[in-house]
């Protein structure tokens, strides 16, 4: 059982690193899709509670939404914006990889600060969640394309979700689904906005979206 958990966590970490190092947007979307699917497995393997119907339903819904619906939506937005790759981002790909490793170290240090929640099976879950959140934030801050920012937001959401699924096992189902619905709505509206931005500016570089300032 330990093997499966560790390899799942390592896979998740790898997807994060892959995200910040790849420049082609379609590749990034696929990475996030994989991460969504992996995330669906978290409650089954790492989850503290026993395998109730609730946990299984939740993981299936997560896998479907994060693995299929979001990528489909974002690919549609990508095609409409006909953008191929992230042009010159603020932080180069190699340096962002180094930053990724640094963030991993920071996440592990912070993970150790907080005492381990009792039921968790492996000590690496909290650092993993924190690491994914930090990678999400880093992606938003360091990339130009609006689409990458949405991906960053999604990755950050995945990190929080991983933490939620692993520990808050008593969270009522309705709230989990509510959260999922909200994230879905958020991504849906962001997709529409990207479509509008592309129609209005025929580019989706958010750094050029900086007219409103003091």
């Amino acid at each position: 059982m330990e093997l499966w958990i560790d390899c799942l966590i390592v896979l998740l970490i790898l997807t994060n690193l892959k995200l910040i190092s790849s420049s082609r947007l379609s590749a990034c979307i696929r990475v996030v899709a994989i991460q969504g699917v992996l995330l669906g497995l978290v409650p089954l393997l790492v989850g503290s509670g026993d395998l109730t119907f609730r946990v299984i339903l939740l993981s299936i819904v997560t896998m479907v939404v994060k693995g299929i619906v979001f990528p489909w939506l974002l690919l549609k937005a990508l095609r409409s914006a006909n953008v191929r790759r992230e042009m010159e981002p603020f932080v180069g790909y190699t340096t962002s990889l180094l930053v990724g490793v640094g963030l991993l170290a920071l996440a592990i240090w912070m993970g150790r600060q907080l005492p381990l929640p009792a039921p968790s099976k492996s000590p690496l879950v909290v650092p993993l969640a924190l690491f994914t959140i930090m990678i999400g934030l880093f992606a938003i801050v360091s990339r130009r394309k609006a689409l990458t920012q949405v991906l960053g937001y999604l990755v950050m959401e995945n990190g929080i979700y991983a933490f939620g699924l692993a520990f808050a096992h008593q969270e009522p189902l309705l709230v989990e689904l509510g959260t999922l619905l909200d994230v879905f709505m958020a991504v849906f509206i962001m997709g529409i906005t990207i479509f509008q931005i592309n129609r209005e500016f025929d580019h989706i570089d958010t750094d050029r979206l900086s007219l409103l300032k003091d």
């Binding site: 603020f90 912070m110 600060q113 907080l114 934030l137 938003i140 801050v141 360091s142 990339r143 920012q149 958010t206 750094d207 979206l209 900086s210 007219l211 409103l212 300032k213 003091d214």
Partner: protein, 159 residues
Amino acid sequence: MTGLTGSDVQGHLAVAVSPLRSVVLISGILLVLIALLAVMRSRLLAGRKVELSGTWDCGYARPTARMQYTASSFAQPLTNMFGVLLQTHRSLERPEGFFPTQAGLHTETGDIFRRNVYRPIFQSVERLLLWLHWLQQGRVQIYILYIAVTMLILLIWNL
């Protein structure tokens, strides 16, 4: 709201109010007196001849409105008494030549507190605050960086 009890508030108020009561009384009497004198005056003048003529000008041929005392001339004795403080700005245009056509004197006493105290303070505060404007540069990434940085600082400072 002030937290004082009712009674000692009454006490403090009484001390302050009693002189005021007399002042109100006196100003009341003053107004009545003014009214009385005005009525007396108008009744006195009712029967008499009241004419209108020019102001006493000591026989000067053509007095003009410009000879009247203006605000600065009214205050001139005092402003030059405190001349050192007020730094009155004088611009004198001397009459030249034997048949001078043009001469003029212009004095301007600025408000010393506004010039030396308030304007410097306000300008320095404004420069300081305008320097803060780089906080709102307009790029989304910077804004989200602010959130991440505040989050990081709080965590490090408190954990």
